[in-house]
Symmetry: C2
């Protein structure tokens, strides 16, 4: 993920700075589940100690603008960011806030929506809330 992201950023004229590399590395770290800005900030700061929170937000916004990552907006708590930009359902645990990806065959056809509601779909947000395996045990 990291090399291809950097390549795409260069192609689109973004400069590759140590701050941005650190942020991308955190996003590519699969042990972190869809991290929020604050966690990204804390982790990336381990690599670039001068990093500011403003820069984290600015970088994440740029990457979203270019559709290189996806932002999941929440009102309670912070937004979350994910590198998987293929259409999929996010399974969000209401107990531990973990977010799992669930890949599925899309069944709601944008063309049908355009026909019925005259609405042109550009992107989707599909979320199922509930409880993950570990939290159900408790």
């Amino acid at each position: 993920m990291k090399p291809s992201l950097i390549k795409k950023m260069k192609e689109r004229g973004l400069k590759i700075t140590p701050q941005r590399i650190a942020i991308i590395e955190v996003l590519a770290d699969e042990t972190l589940f869809h991290p929020g800005a604050k966690l990204i900030y804390l982790e990336a700061r381990k690599r670039v100690k001068s990093l500011s929170l403003s820069t984290v937000y600015a970088t994440l916004n740029e990457l979203c603008r270019l559709n290189l990552i996806k932002m999941l907006e929440f009102d309670k708590g912070e937004n979350r960011y994910e590198g998987n930009i293929n259409p999929h359902v996010n399974l969000i645990c209401k107990s531990c806030n973990r977010i799992l990806d669930y890949n599925f065959a899309v069944s709601i056809d944008p063309k049908e929506i355009l026909k019925k509601s005259r609405f042109w779909v550009t992107d989707t947000r599909l979320e199922y809330y509930g409880y993950c395996q570990e939290c159900r045990k408790k």
Copy 2:
């Protein structure tokens, strides 16, 4: 919508106040599209002039807690509230922020998700972003 909502509120022990009636009337007004707290506040205030914004939030939270209305959380801009609690897709216009309902036959089976991902689904949020008919004309 209004009488059944009030009935359900009484059943669950909520008191029926002029403020709450005004808020429900705004929610039931179909000419308003999925209003936010501020719009609800401004409209309901026409009926109960002493109404405070805190009360609007408190009431909306109570109604959500009892699953009588549904809250759509957004980070940019305010949350939006809707009386239609049947599963459906929200078509959200990125230009004018209007929200349309799109009813569809659910195809992603919660049981299948439980089997594959061991995740127990309790509720859903399905949003398609894009542009509505009127905004596409421009």
